[in-house]
Symmetry: C2
Subunit: 203 residues, 2 copies
């Protein structure tokens, strides 16, 4: 979405996908593997927002800013910064007054979803949201099969505990099929997770 | 809060306040004027979180990343980036299952609060949250008098419309005293806005 800021601030164009791809880092969490899933979710959220179905946004990428230049008569330039690990999940917002909170991850695995896709801070955050009565879940994508599932945080937390207690460090595909809900890919919206929330919570 | 990330990622220390102050930009929205209010709110949110009263976080500062270096065997370094205007408010989260959303601003004015502290995207976002049944408000601080008020978004939106229809481009202190709620500054938590929400909504 291109626009000019009303306050006269310089418009900074988006990084093109080519640039992003050309500079793909080795760390998978910053790679473009998640690009499609993130794009689909951003489009879905925009669909919800425009039709007044829900107001859900992706949070900005947390960045630790170390050095900033302030050239006269132009925008401040960040000259040194680092990616920080997020202390919460990536997406949150409101649906019919209720708090919605989720994280989206994908795997190239076929038969299981590795728990290393999540980190301790996110798990703690999900626990807090659940105990505060928020609607919290993960959207899991099996990229090879192009299958997307919604799994409530309660289940993910159980699998996390199983791992912490010496159990397997992944969720089997069978478990996800049994406890999660398959989200058929659509055209508009691409990943209609609110429909699943409706069926699970009967709003 | 200092911690080591469990995944072995390099720990990036926070920018010290000295650095921030030394490089204070001329644009007031990036200056350290808001530091105290933001600090107080972050402390308040941490207080709520630790006592399981509410889970509310400040969103990361939105940054448009243009150039990233990926040195071998060390963390990715952002070499060029710009501050972006936020498309939403700064704070959101969950309280007793309800969606909470707010923006915090301060002024050195004595008798009115200038509306230029908000921008069109934030106003649009607040409208959307209100129509989705979320609890949306602004926390307004008069820095000279050290007075903090909570004003529901509904009222702010009316004052915004008044300005758009040719009226004054600020809210008078009288109007804020009449329609908003004074938040007495405390020790812990510093700015107990959840108490005000309780009295306004009778949860």
């Amino acid at each position: 979405m291109n626009f000019n800021y009303p306050n006269g601030k310089r418009y900074i164009p988006n990084v093109t996908e080519t640039q992003t791809k050309a500079k793909k880092p080795s760390n998978p969490s910053y790679s473009n593997r998640g690009m499609t899933l993130e794009d689909d979710l951003n489009e879905t959220n925009e669909y919800y927002r425009q039709r007044k179905i829900a107001v859900i946004h992706k949070k900005p990428t947390p960045v630790q800013i170390v050095k900033v230049d302030y050239p006269k008569r132009s925008a401040a330039v960040i000259k040194e910064a680092y990616f920080k690990q997020a202390s919460t999940t990536d997406y949150n917002g409101v649906y019919k007054g209720k708090y919605i909170d989720f994280e989206a991850k994908e795997t190239a695995n076929i038969t299981s979803f590795p728990l290393k896709n999540f980190h301790q801070h996110q798990i703690e955050h999900m626990k807090e949201v659940v105990s505060q009565g928020g609607i919290c879940f993960v959207i899991l994508r099996f990229s090879k099969q192009e299958q997307v599932y919604l799994l409530l945080a309660q289940h993910l937390l159980n699998f996390w505990d199983r791992m912490k207690n010496g159990g397997r460090n992944s969720i089997t595909k069978d478990e996800i099929e049994q406890l999660g809900t398959f989200i058929p890919l659509g055209f508009q919206p691409r990943i209609d997770y609110i429909k699943i929330i409706d069926t699970l919570f009967h709003f």
